[in-house]
Symmetry: C2
Subunit: 225 residues, 2 copies
DNA sequence: CAGCAGTGAGAATAACATTCTCGTAGAGTG
DNA sequence: CACTCTACGAGAATGTTATTCTCACTGCTG
């Protein structure tokens, strides 16, 4: 459709460097503006979520709050879906940083893991009070509709846990034949779902599962000798 | 609002036996018809889900398929939500039965548990081919919007796993101080979420987690000596 | 037969996400 | 400065669903 003359190279995608730079200069400003607008949408959405405590906001609300327009919103996002995804990724990244920081306070590899496991558990828990990562609320839904994107969002956390598992492995604290990567993935999944399930406890035989129990379970399983 | 004369008893809810029976007789037919209609809605919805492989049907589709009317649908269900919940509970119950049957084929308590764990894992796994319990697709979403109802739906399965854990415990195969009930809850949560996460693998470092790995993880954890 | 509860058919409503139209302000360019 | 071109704001228009409402009918029961 838009192929212009380009007889010199076999890779029409890659323009000569000078042209790239020229275009870039011409684009930089626009790009910057775009980023600012995206940022405003993101901030507005984050604020609304924190206020309302859930992710049931309308696009209109975000638009109004950010003092921009629907027109603009859909120019920058493929849809509400992408906005949520962006926020989710961000929250995941922040959580990973927070957990890493907490784990770094420990010397023993297993202790580091324990801290990480327990903190992740607390962060994923549906806490009515602390609206911090209420994204855990819509994460499960996302997990089904866009598993690939969720995997990407989980990456920072997975990387962190894999590191911690590797350290434990080098210290000979991992079970034989246990791949650090697998162990990390399995542990993360377990923690996150258990946290979700432990949401509304209070029924019949009191279920308030504690982070200690979770750690115990993940590290040692349920089987005896 | 509707209080009629009832000078004889302090419990206006309990009518004399003859009246109860009269009402019952008068009601029985209606009740039967209602049940049939509900059943038709349920069957129609189940059929559509199995066909389409997901739960994105419209109420209208169910109504058309069951040859009834919207009017009737909302007379029998509080909304689409209740329909899904009913189907979900049903699927859970059936799965529990299936797993129990499979586990009964084993003698050793731990083997029973292994079979149960692995089968549950397979059942919860998002299999594009087998549409059987595709309810796992919307279960996570439900988990957030109506945790209480989900808990109720999980009950049969939880009961089964608790039984199996107790048997293992009596055989001295459970870890010290491990409550069968807790072990069951933790194990179930882990399996179900891991199954979900293992959905779209195929990226980078091949993640096709197997049921063996899940069993290994749940039973022994990741920690070494 | 009259009344009533349940029903079918389908229009009306409500909420949203998403798209589209029109008019404008600002940046880059000559 | 005048011109063009792009992104933007404001908000109307569309499309999809769930949910409710209206009207007419039907089968039962007294």
């Amino acid at each position: 459709m838009s192929q212009k003359a380009d007889p010199s190279t076999s890779t029409p995608d890659e323009q000569p460097a000078w042209k790239q730079r020229a275009v870039e200069r011409s684009t930089k400003a626009a790009k910057l503006r775009a980023e600012q607008r995206v940022e405003r949408f993101l901030d507005a959405a984050q604020a609304i979520i924190t206020e309302k405590g859930n992710t049931d906001f309308t696009v209109q609300e975000v638009v109004d709050r950010s003092r921009q327009s629907l027109r603009s919103f859909y120019q920058h996002f493929d849809g509400k879906h992408e906005l949520l995804l962006a926020l989710f990724e961000d929250a995941m990244r922040r959580s990973a940083d927070q957990i890493r920081a907490a784990a770094d306070g420990q010397d023993d590899p297993l202790e580091r893991l324990r801290v990480a496991v327990q903190l992740l558990f607390e962060l994923c828990r549906p806490d009515p009070a602390a609206q911090r990562p209420l994204f855990t609320e819509f994460a499960p839904q996302l997990l089904m509709s866009h598993p690939t994107e969720v995997k990407i969002a989980h990456r920072p956390l997975l990387a962190l846990f894999t590191e911690l598992m590797e350290q434990a492995g080098e210290a000979g604290r991992l079970r034989e034949g246990m791949s650090p990567r697998r162990a990390a993935a399995l542990t993360m999944s377990s923690i996150m779902f258990i946290a979700q399930s432990s949401g509304a406890e209070d029924h019949e035989t009191a279920h308030p599962i504690t982070s200690d129990e979770v750690w115990d379970f993940c590290s040692k399983g349920f089987a005896g000798a």
